[in-house]
């Protein structure tokens, strides 16, 4: 009877399996859901466009970043003489400045997020998986760092090491990994209690393999979502650091620097503020749409 049953089961499954032998992984399912989300896909397209322009944009203009021109100070956007987005108060071309700024802002946003990701995932996963006293100690350390104000920390770094762009990377990355570590730890704790972890341990799988094969792939979903939301946050942090004069240094520029300088000549040359501000806002929206889209795609139950 049992054998017969196993067989008839198998036959039934065969009818089913004939249609689809290759399974669909959760990643494939998520990708499908993500693709059907219009806002998120729009975000991806616009962001790709901005990224592309940040590379190609400056080359399209006849002007270079360092080209100062006393004849063309604070020209409003015009189609004549190729100053498509006008010039600033030192006569530099805004088109070039905006795309160069995009380059720096996006790089900072992405690099700092990668730093935060690497430290945060390693730290959080270790604390969560090891647990007990180690976990307690590691997370209290995070709490202490949380209490340290970001600005204070950066001012100290700047006064000690002087201003440079790598310092900005390090400073922002060093602060933003804290939240990442907390998220990863929380996820790891809940994954650790899943029975498939116990099953793997019971069949003699080594701890390292368990973390690599079972913990990290299942933690990664919420982490990806947080990453897409962390990039715009970091761009924004860089912006206000630059606004306060602690960020990147001339002649290098970023959207934050442009906005800060544009704010000074708001009445006489409003385009100096408006153009980078719009770019920044659009980028923020894109990342947030993508983040929301990813969250819906990766965790369909939460909707």
């Amino acid at each position: 009877m049992a054998l017969f049953q196993a067989q008839s089961d198998a036959q039934l499954a065969l009818m089913d399996a004939a249609a689809r032998l290759q399974g669909r992984s959760l990643w494939q399912d998520a990708l499908e859901r993500f693709k059907s989300n219009k806002a998120a896909m729009g975000g991806v397209i616009v962001l790709c466009l901005i990224g592309f322009m940040s590379v190609v944009g400056p080359m399209m203009s006849p002007y270079r970043l360092e080209d100062l021109s006393w004849e063309a100070i604070s020209i409003a956007p015009t189609m004549d003489n190729s100053h498509w987005l006008g010039t600033d108060d030192t006569g530099r071309d805004m088109w070039v400045l905006t795309w160069m700024g995009a380059r720096v802002s996006l790089t900072i946003g992405i690099m700092t997020t990668i730093i935060a990701l690497l430290i945060g995932v390693a730290y959080g996963a270790t604390a969560g998986y090891v647990g007990g006293r180690t976990d307690n100690f590691m997370m209290r350390f995070v709490d202490v760092l949380y209490a340290l104000p970001l600005l204070f920390f950066i001012i100290i770094l700047v006064t000690v090491f002087g201003r440079n762009i790598y310092l900005v990377f390090v400073a922002i990355g060093c602060v933003e990994w804290l939240t990442m570590a907390r998220i990863v730890r929380g996820q790891t704790l809940s994954i650790k209690r899943k029975e498939y972890i116990e099953a793997a341990l019971a069949s003699g799988v080594k701890t390292g393999t368990v973390i690599r094969r079972h913990v990290i792939p299942n933690v990664i979903g919420p982490v990806i979502v947080y990453v897409t939301l962390l990039v715009p946050t970091n761009i924004l942090v860089e912006s206000y650091l630059s606004f306060l004069g602690l960020g990147v240094q001339e002649p290098l520029t970023s959207w934050g620097v442009l906005i800060s300088r544009g704010a000074n000549s708001l009445e006489t040359a409003p385009w100096l503020l408006i153009i980078p501000a719009i770019c920044l806002a659009i980028t923020m929206f894109c990342f947030n749409f993508i983040g929301d889209g990813l969250r819906d795609a990766l965790d369909p139950k939460d909707r």
Partner: protein, 326 residues
């Protein structure tokens, strides 16, 4: 029958923080408190009891997934509790585990083949790909899954099929003992029977020893050779299936058996159910003496003062009760 597993006076106590912020103290939660039993080769031992009686903890402690506080777990004469981690890891191919919830015991990101392959690689990293694939196909057929389904993911299967995958993962190493922790409780009735039949068949074919943990006495009676009854981490009664169900000696076993509804209106309405009063006491603060005395119909002052010792009768029937003769 050769004894493969011998558990002696096994204790698992979890430290629990109790009390306020200033006067907090650690008190032990006695999940398993001095349980001894043996499992023979090819034997199926049923472990029954209500939620909170420590039956799942017991299973995990035997496999050293939870470190026992005290006692011995002798696997073929070797005490597993004393083994260093790495040596224990190598022993694991002999002892496997099947869980209650089939879906959550399978990693959703891995295909069926990857799930079943994992124990193979864990015990023998040098195993060839073809070798592994052949063994996966074999075991999938044995548990009633089509080898063609190897590249699909757990969420594409029904509960019963997922449990088959979990059994395949446990069986692929050809273990000598499998501990099944409520393997059919989360399945529909019609699917339960399929899995029970499968376990029965595998046990006979491969000469497996099974520890079958369940709260369902009907299933235990159908599948097991001997049955152990746990209450609040202690063993109440341990006996052959037939003598336990025909003549339960412990008042708790009697109540447990009489509480099971029988799918026959005439019998069900005619039988007098022994209704136990109250609920399970907290394992943090177990009653003194016999742990069952607060709900026992036969309890006397002696039960409050003295912990009953386990008596072994002639036919091997073990019982821990002061008044079983009455």
């Amino acid at each position: 029958m050769k004894t493969v597993l011998k558990v002696e006076n096994l204790k698992v106590h979890f430290p629990i923080k109790a009390g306020g912020f200033l006067n907090s103290k650690i008190i032990p939660l006695r999940a398993v408190d001095g349980v001894s039993f043996e499992v023979g080769a090819g034997e199926c031992l049923g472990v029954v009891g209500e939620s909170g009686c420590g039956k799942s903890t017991l299973g995990r402690a035997v496999l050293q997934l939870i470190k026992p506080t005290d006692g011995k777990v002798l696997w073929l004469g070797e005490n597993l509790c004393d083994l260093p981690r790495e040596q224990m890891r190598q022993k694991r191919s002999n002892l496997q585990l099947v869980f209650q919830d089939p879906l959550s015991s399978l990693n959703p990101r891995l295909t069926v083949a990857e799930i079943i392959r994992e124990p193979l690689y864990a015990t023998d990293p040098t195993i060839g790909r073809e070798d592994a694939d052949q063994r996966i196909d074999e075991i999938m057929k044995a548990v009633g899954l089509l080898p063609e389904m190897r590249n699909r993911y757990p969420h594409e299967f029904s509960g019963g099929q997922c449990q088959r995958i979990a059994i395949a993962r446990a069986m692929v190493l050809k273990p000598k003992l499998i501990i099944c922790d409520e393997p059919v409780s989360s399945l529909d009735v019609s699917i339960q029977a399929q899995i029970i039949n499968l376990l029965r068949r595998l046990q006979k074919e491969y000469g497996l020893s099974l520890i079958f943990i369940s709260h369902d006495l009907s299933v235990v009676r159908h599948l097991c050779h001997r049955v152990m009854v746990l209450y609040l981490g202690r063993m109440m009664e341990l006996a052959d299936r037939d003598s336990l169900f025909a003549k339960p000696l412990h008042p708790y076993t009697q109540a447990l058996i009489s509480a099971v509804p029988i799918p026959d209106p005439a019998k069900e309405r005619a039988k007098g159910t022994l209704i136990l009063s109250g609920d399970l006491p907290s394992p943090l603060n177990p009653p003194s003496g016999c742990v069952f005395r607060t709900r026992c119909l036969k309890a006397t002052p002696k039960c409050i003062k003295e912990v009953p010792t386990v008596e072994v009768l002639e036919n091997g029937h073990q019982i821990a009760c002061h008044h079983w003769l009455k």
